[in-house]
């Protein structure tokens, strides 16, 4: 990658709780190039949203504490910016849309006011012009009857319309990066497709980069240039989307793809990954996935059955694997695959 817009490097973040500090991110690294769409996929609680909120510095601190790492945006470390300049970044250079369109809009302000606020907050123009531009943007996101809708309140609109308003708000100042946190999850299927195609249309027109957070593999498959898989506060695999789907390396990614419906026929139950995600407040040492990993399980049972003299994957219980590079741009954090496939060190 010649150019990077956003470069998150080794982000470690924890939350202070009453029972002590709980780490949520264990050294997350990824980058987003200008105009590129990166999908961030993982199950609930794996740290997707926390990563996004950390980039915009929207986590309340305390309890959130960034222990180490950098978030470099256009060559500047956002973590070192004073709050006032950070306000200038939010909504202008990096915007975010949230998962819940039903609760993400202020119930006592009209939708037009809320979109117009983006212009006045960043001193782009005066109030009157801001109101006109807000209507203009509502039109751009295909809000029906935009000048009328601008005077309405969120409760008068459907979920899809509210999410359109959120998108108008986020894109109003044509940011170079849009963080979309599950933008379609809370919507029904037809509206989901509409919102995604709207995002695709605007992404092309405004040539912005998108960090798309989702747990829907189908959405990233259609939408993202590259995809990162998160598990327990780490990125365990990151690759160009096409390659990730064609040749998943990490056993977790393999498990996820195998459990997608529609791949096989005739089976009544979908395959699933055995075990559960460890509790964040009590993460075992070593690879976070070791407990559920088929490779690790097999090696262990062979060792216990005395088929092999030594446990070949004892390293999984000791060391948290870093991301190893395989073919160009395909990284995965797995001890086993490294031995089998010979990944290079990152």
């Amino acid at each position: 990658m010649a150019e990077t817009l956003l470069d998150v490097r080794g982000l470690r973040l924890s939350f202070a709780t009453e029972k002590g500090s709980v780490r949520a991110l264990f050294g997350v690294s990824f980058s987003v190039a200008p105009g590129e769409t990166v999908g961030l996929v993982g199950e609930s609680g794996c740290g997707k949203t926390v990563t996004a909120l950390a980039v915009l510095r929207l986590l309340q601190s305390p309890p959130a504490i960034v222990e180490s790492g950098e978030i470099v945006f256009r060559g500047e470390d956002l973590l070192a910016l004073p709050e006032k300049r950070m306000c200038g970044v939010r909504g202008k250079s990096i915007s975010m849309i949230f998962q819940e369109p039903m609760s993400s809009l202020n119930p006592v302000l009209t939708v037009g006011e809320q979109v117009a606020e983006v212009f006045t907050a960043h001193n782009v123009c005066g109030k009157r012009e801001a109101a006109e531009r807000a209507v203009e943007w509502l039109r751009k996101v295909h809000m029906p009857d935009p000048s009328l809708r601008a005077r309405e309140y969120p409760h008068q609109m459907s979920g899809g319309m509210r999410q359109r308003a959120m998108i108008a708000m986020a894109l109003a100042l044509t940011p170079s990066l849009l963080i979309a946190d599950e933008p379609s999850t809370a919507l029904d299927v037809t509206i989901q497709a509409q919102i995604l195609s709207l995002l695709r249309e605007l992404r092309e027109r405004e040539r912005m980069a998108v960090l798309l957070i989702t747990h829907d593999l189908g959405v990233v498959h259609d939408f993202a240039d590259r995809t990162a898989i998160m598990y327990l506060g780490r990125i365990v695999e990151i690759a160009p989307t096409r390659e990730l789907f064609a040749d998943p390396i990490h056993p977790y990614t393999q498990g996820l793809l195998a459990s997608l419906p529609g791949k096989r026929t005739g089976e009544k139950r979908l395959p699933s990954i055995p075990g559960t995600v460890p509790d964040l407040s009590n993460v075992p040492p070593g690879c976070p996935f070791a407990d559920r990993c088929p490779f690790r399980r097999e090696a262990l049972s062979r060792f216990l059955a005395r088929e092999v003299p030594a446990d070949p994957l004892a390293v999984c219980d000791r060391e948290d694997p870093p991301l190893y590079e395989y073919s160009g741009g395909h990284f995965a954090a797995c001890h086993h695959q490294r031995t089998v496939r010979g990944g290079g060190a990152r």
Binding site: C87, R90, F98, N106, P107, H155, M166
Partner: protein, 324 residues
């Protein structure tokens, strides 16, 4: 909206009748009576003169007749005459007392809002800070101390020991000879302690309520949206969070009417303030039935009116209810 208000007002009539019926029955269930107060200890009062008095006031009739008569009179807004020796119309007695009670309550209410809302908002925004902890202790202390007891302590301190403030009444003896400014100053001097105390008692509830609402609202998604837009913290707090947090306060305001009237009874008695509360107290002690019923009816009416105003105010402030 107008239709809604009219409908609510019409609906209030049966409620008022119900309240008055219950009040009437309870009042008559209480031991003692208006005749006994003047005759029980009077050796010259004969059984015959008592019966005559009873008949004069209509107390010899069965209860339902008495209530019916009262209700018929009330329907023409006639509150009747007081049983007290002056025998003046109840309406007139209430009318001259209401402004004083209202002034004190409105002033202390204003004080509560002026102090409690900023304290609550600031405590919520800086949750866990030194200010938050100190204000929490202070308002809970205020909440825990019985106001009438604190009133007595402060009367001793400021009125007796220091002699800075008058301890009773609402005007000095030379009130009549003062100029307009002097009258105002004299009134303020007398009301200072009651208003401050009444306000202090209500501070805890309101500031904790504001704080709790504010904490609730700050966690909402739309506050995160506002921050993500790049709005400065001040705009996020005042424009996006506070407006939502203060909506329920309108309801509290409307619901506090009966509390104010009830509280005034104790308060005005302690400070010897010639207000509605004191009048009610005197009325109850002498079993002045028409007066008691008059004040209760006015109180019930004000309470219902307060509820209606709160609902209307809420609808005006919250678009979800306005159109819903």
């Amino acid at each position: 909206m107008l239709r809604y208000i009219v409908r609510r007002l019409v609906g209030a009539v049966p409620i008022l009748v119900g309240i008055s019926l219950i009040s009437f029955l309870m009042m008559h269930m209480a031991p003692g009576g208006p005749i006994g107060a003047g005759t029980d200890l009077n050796p010259k009062a004969t059984a015959e003169s008592r019966a005559r008095l009873k008949a004069y006031y209509g107390l010899d009739q069965p209860l339902h007749i008495q209530y019916g008569r009262w209700l018929v009179r009330m329907s023409t807004l006639d509150f009747g005459d007081s049983f007290s020796p002056d025998g003046r119309p109840v309406a007139e007695k209430i009318k001259e007392r209401i402004p004083i009670t209202l002034t004190i309550n409105v002033l202390s209410m204003g004080l509560i809002f002026l102090v409690a809302i900023p304290v609550g908002v600031y405590s919520a925004v800086r949750k866990g800070s030194l200010f938050d902890r100190i204000s929490t202790v202070a308002v809970f202390t205020g909440f825990a101390i019985p106001t009438f007891w604190l009133a007595l302590l402060l009367m001793i301190l400021f009125g007796v020991k220091l002699g800075w403030l008058p301890i009773s009444g609402i005007s000095s003896l030379d009130y009549g000879s003062l100029g307009p400014l002097g009258k105002l100053a004299d009134r303020a001097h007398h009301l200072l302690l009651p208003v401050l105390l009444l306000g202090f008692g209500g501070l805890a509830g309101m500031s904790r309520y504001t704080r709790a609402n504010m904490l609730e609202v700050i966690r909402q998604d739309y506050v995160a949206t506002a921050r993500a837009k790049g709005l400065p913290e001040g705009t996020v707090v005042f424009r996006h969070a506070m407006r939502n947090a203060l909506l329920p306060v309108i309801t509290i305001l409307g619901l506090s009417v009966p509390e104010l009237l009830g509280g005034s009874v104790i308060f005005e008695t302690i400070f010897a303030i010639p207000g509605l509360g004191q009048l009610f107290y005197q009325g109850v002690m002498s079993r002045d039935y028409p007066l008691i019923m008059g004040i209760l009816t006015i109180g019930a009416f004000l309470t219902l009116l307060g509820n209606l105003l709160a609902d209307v105010g809420y609808a005006l402030a919250d678009p979800r209810i306005r159109q819903g």
